[in-house]
């Protein structure tokens, strides 16, 4: 039989069906593990859509509460989808030999980046040995000497001939600190000025002519020296190139063969060849001696030397070397700007920050390119520039590396402008619903870039099929966490707790995190008890222990009531005073407790004063509730009369903020009591909101509220009269702790659903509320009649007061 409003609930009505049909097994070890996530079909479909779609803007936002299996579902589904995708390319940065500030990005077939890197390192090692050997060879030395001698021969021959000619013409050529001196000679000595002047004029003219001729020829010979040197250098350079080309081509042929058909690699190797030949002198630098290190020169890692850094292959992304297939699934738990798009590192050299292309580091976008990138939405949003960088990359379809310092112009040192790398991946953001809705509302680009939402449900309907799934889910969690299997009563108890977690007796919670916590703790208790399985007592122990750990504040609250510090009556009757119920949620602690609500009335102009609002302690929902009950009063009792009431309502001993409308029914009851002057039975507590027509509406936290009042009553002694009035529409949410159910069962406590204000006031005052008769009047002596009479009296008083006041004003 369905529960009837206004009548106390039976204990049997507090407990949903136990769904035994779903629990026909010994232990969850007998059940098939769940591959999927129960109750999340909608979200899983969205995930599959995002994973399989080829459109670049079908990025995904996975929304839902923590613990609903969002991440594990994302991980499992994406891993599955990634396996069927092709392995993406490897990416490397190499030097642009023409413009080192702009490193070149180069893609290679999967798994080939590390091969190229190793091949280039070996090539450099080989050349570091072979090029010096070539330049030290007898062949090279002979050819070089031949070039040098051909030029010096010419010059020396010319100088020799000139010296002979000068001697024959009586002219001396002498070396001086400033060059060459040309002077007339007299025998083996230089002709003195005096002797020169004593010579006949024709002799002097002859000597002058000879000196002029020799000088001119000497100038000509010496003038040719720089040109000869330049030509000699060019010939030597050509020889160097020829010799280097031979060695480099020989060494490169093997590497090129290894990369045949890989155009990018071949282009790079060709550019590297030209640069090595042009800069062969780099291979002749010998800053360390042949025996400088622990290993012989031939086995030294030459490629690691600074002068060969220009030939390095900086591997940004390298797929596994195996022949496996599949795209990457990358989770970045710390999505800073640098961790996301990569970074350029710097090293301090003589007080300056320097960098080069080998100091470019990959980010999560690089690693996930071609696959999936899973990010925590909140983390991306709180990391400076990260969200902006992510959107920019998705919008542009490429990864450009920049630093926050550059962006803010904080770095003035020379930096790099690496080629952007083309980006093709699916980004999956995992976050709370609020974030999703805020991004949708405030970031216009968000909806463009994240077109798919996967909304993970918190609850699933409770029926036999879902209970079976729940049992398998519990078994899967136990198996995954390496826990004992659950027996059927254990699952039943967990199932009950799950409905409690969902605040709904007809729904299971899908908070896998919380269920896992309970199971792990229950496993601990089962282990302590020497049980092979997790049973109901172990689940109970786990739940009770968790509540006890988080129960300090609840106990403190109960203690204050018990000691009379917080004034709550649980017996007797008072006019204008009622026990309302509220829920406090602090940290992991969530509990209900009663609060005294009181109401005072007098003649006024139709105003109900909400003291909480006046003192700015009441939230908007609370104020709304108070205004609604004003509407109820006006419509119910004085449709034809001006409302001549002034009333004040207050939560006694409340010093913090109050919000929500779940106390509006209690406030209305207090007001009706004050108006009717009928006392309210303090054995009752009330929760529920009210509409303008006096209907009682559902509220949240009904279980905690009932238990809060029950615990106060239990501490003082249960009388059997004590009860909680709850909205009839909250019956389906009842998943009460066993102590309450047992008290109801034994008739020591009552839970009474009500659908209207009239039902509630009747219980509270012990007097019928009364309905208007055909004459439009409430039955005499009924609560409503007393309220209406009081309101009419207020109206009359106010009218007479107004009349009197008007006469006073009208006096001449």
């Amino acid at each position: 039989m369905a529960p009837e409003a206004g009548k106390p609930l039976e204990a049997s009505e507090l407990s949903r069906g136990v769904l035994d049909a779903a629990l026909e097994f010994e232990t969850t070890g007998d059940l098939e593990p769940l591959e999927d996530w129960p109750g999340q079909e909608r979200a899983l479909d969205a995930l599959r859509m995002a994973a399989e779609s080829r459109f670049s803007d079908f990025n995904l936002f996975v929304l839902g509460n923590p613990g609903t299996g969002r991440r594990s579902a994302v991980r499992a589904l994406l891993s599955g989808a990634a396996e069927s995708l092709p392995r993406p390319s490897d990416w490397v940065y190499v030097n642009d030999f023409d413009d080192p500030r702009r490193p070149r990005a180069m893609d290679l077939p999967p798994g080939r980046a590390m091969v190229l890197k190793a091949a280039v390192e070996k090539l450099i090692d080989d050349l570091a040995n072979e090029i010096p050997a070539v330049f030290e060879s007898e062949d090279y030395q002979a050819r070089r000497r031949a070039i040098e001698e051909s030029y010096s021969d010419r010059q020396e021959q010319a100088m020799g001939e000139l010296a002979e000619k000068a001697r024959a013409r009586g002219v001396a050529i002498m070396r001086t600190p400033m060059g060459f001196g040309v002077a007339a000679r007299q025998g083996e000595e230089i002709l003195t000025p005096e002797a020169y002047h004593d010579l006949p004029e024709d002799t002097r003219e002859r000597i002058d002519a000879a000196m002029a001729e020799i000088s001119a020829e000497l100038e000509e010979i010496l003038g040719q020296v720089p040109k000869g040197m330049k030509a000699q250098r060019r010939e030597v350079e050509a020889l160097n190139v020829e010799m280097t080309e031979h060695v480099v081509d020989d060494a490169l042929s093997e590497v090129k063969a290894e990369f045949a058909g890989e155009d990018n690699a071949l282009r790079f190797l060709e550019a590297m060849r030209d640069d090595i030949i042009e800069n062969a002198d780099l291979f002749l630098i010998r800053e360390d001696g042949a025996t400088a290190g622990a290993f012989p020169v031939a086995t030294t890692k030459h490629y690691a030397k600074p002068q060969f850094r220009r030939y390095a292959v900086n591997v940004m992304v390298s797929q596994p070397h195996t022949n496996g297939h599949g795209a990457p699934v990358v989770e970045e738990s710390l999505p800073t700007l640098a961790n996301l798009i990569g970074r350029i590192e710097y090293a301090a050299e003589q007080g300056a920050l320097v960098t080069n292309f080998t100091m470019i580091r990959a980010g999560a976008l690089h690693r996930a390119n071609g696959g999936f990138l899973v990010l925590d939405a909140r983390q991306v949003l709180i990391e400076p520039f990260a969200w902006d960088a992510l959107k920019r990359a998705l919008r542009s379809g490429e990864i450009s590396i920049f630093s926050a310092g550059e962006r803010l112009s904080l770095i003035s040192t020379e930096t790099l402008e690496p080629d952007p790398i083309p980006l093709k991946l699916r980004v999956v953001l995992v976050g709370e619903r609020m974030l999703y809705y805020m991004l949708t509302a405030f970031d216009p680009e968000f909806a463009e870039l994240f077109k798919i939402e996967a909304d993970f449900d918190d609850r699933m309907p409770r029926d036999v099929d879902s209970a079976k799934l729940f049992a398998r889910l519990a078994g899967t969690i136990a198996r995954r966490e390496d826990l004992r299997p659950l027996d059927a009563p254990g699952v039943r108890r967990l199932l009950l707790e799950s409905t409690r977690l969902s605040d709904d007796a007809e729904r299971f919670s899908l908070n896998l995190g919380r269920l896992s916590d309970i199971l792990r703790e229950a496993d601990h208790w089962a282990g302590g008890a020497g049980s092979e399985t997790i049973g109901a007592p172990h689940i109970d122990s786990a739940i009770e222990a968790a509540e006890r750990r988080a129960g300090r504040l609840r106990e403190l609250s109960q203690e204050m009531i018990h000691r009379g510090t917080l004034m709550i009556d649980t017996d007797g009757a008072h006019v204008g005073q009622i026990n309302a119920l509220s829920v406090l949620e602090i940290g992991k602690s969530r509990f209900g407790r009663p609060s005294r609500v009181s109401a005072r009335v007098r003649v006024g102009s139709g105003k109900v004063v909400d003291i909480e609002r006046e003192t700015e302690l009441g939230g908007p929902l609370h104020s709304k509730g108070v205004m609604i009950l004003s509407g109820y009063l006006a419509g119910q009792y004085a449709p034809e009369e001006p409302m001549s009431l002034w009333a004040s309502l207050v939560f006694e001993q409340s010093y913090g903020g109050i919000d929500g409308d779940s106390a509006s029914a209690a406030e209305l009851f207090a007001l009706l009591s004050a108006l009717s002057e009928l006392p309210i039975d303090q054995s009752f507590a009330v929760t529920g909101s009210v509409n303008q027509f006096g209907d009682i509406q559902a509220i949240g936290g009904v279980n905690e509220k009932i238990e809060g009042f029950f615990d106060v009553c239990a501490a003082r002694g249960l009388t059997g009269r004590q009860a909680v009035l709850i909205p009839e529409t909250n019956i389906k949410h009842l998943v009460l702790r066993r102590r309450v159910v047992e008290a109801v069962e034994s008739g020591q406590f009552r839970i009474i659903p009500i659908a209207t204000i009239d039902q509630g006031i009747a219980h509270l005052t012990g007097r019928d509320a009364g309905a208007r008769g055909a004459d439009g009047r409430f039955p005499e002596g009924s609560v409503n009649a007393l309220v209406e009479a009081r309101l009419q009296a207020f109206a009359e008083t106010r009218r007479s007061f107004g009349l009197r006041n008007g006469q006073e004003k009208g006096k001449p």
């Binding site: 001698e149 600190p177 000025p193 002097r204 000597i207 000196m211 100038e219 010496l222």
Partner: protein, 225 residues
């Protein structure tokens, strides 16, 4: 062969720079002192006073306005650089060293320096190419120690050893020169020596050949027994 000192003589720093390593090496090998000698030739100073004389820079451009004082200053500058380089090289080789700057006739100064136990390295013209050959002048009662020094130098630089034999001289049996040239008279030998180009390195005994060193364009190593 007992060598007490190795004298590196030059008429400019450019000459000395080319021969400094060689002189240092020989001094270290012989365990002798290293002495530097810059000769400021009277004739060069005189040159600046001659109305028709010319000065031509090493790149072939005529230099004007150089007076005796300017030339003397240039010599002083060369002397400073010569001394500094000599000190650096000698200290690096852990040699005792000294330096002198003398003015006068090259022949006279060299005659004065050639005392027993001296090995004179007289610089030739600056070289623009590596040494091409080692030349040894060996008389009839030839100084075999000098011959071995020349042979060792030729082997060290990997260049041929040319043996010039004055009239009446014969090649020693334990020397294996690459080329042997015999001369019927002294003037022919002197003309041959004078014609050696700066890429040659001449080893000879001092004495009558000392004067030839003035005219040779190559670096001469002259030993006073």
């Amino acid at each position: 062969m007992t060598v007490v000192r190795v004298i590196l003589s030059a008429t400019s720093f450019a000459e000395a720079r080319d021969a400094l390593a060689l002189a240092t090496e020989i001094a270290a090998e012989m365990n002798g002192d290293l002495q530097g000698l810059l000769i400021e030739q009277e004739a060069v100073v005189t040159l600046t006073r001659l109305p028709a004389a010319r000065l031509i820079g090493s790149h072939g451009r005529a230099l004007g306005g150089i007076d005796p004082a300017g030339m003397a200053a240039a010599f002083r500058g060369d002397a400073r650089r010569f001394e500094a380089e000599l000190a650096r090289a000698a200290e690096a080789a852990a040699l005792r060293w000294s330096f002198r700057h003398k003015r006068g006739q090259v022949g006279e100064i060299l005659e004065e320096m050639l005392q027993a136990g001296t090995l004179l390295v007289a610089c030739g013209a600056p070289r623009r190419a590596p040494l091409r050959e080692v030349v040894l002048v060996l008389g009839a009662d030839g100084d075999m120690a000098l011959a071995r020094l020349a042979a060792a130098q030729a082997a060290r630089i990997g260049r041929p050893l040319r043996l010039l034999l004055p009239p009446g001289a014969e090649p020693p049996p334990d020397l294996a020169p690459t080329v042997i040239e015999r001369f019927a008279d002294e003037p022919a030998l002197r003309a041959r020596i004078a014609a050696l180009d700066p890429r040659s390195l001449l080893f000879a005994e001092a004495g009558s050949l000392a004067k030839i060193a003035q005219e040779a364009r190559c670096t001469c190593i002259l030993r006073v027994p």
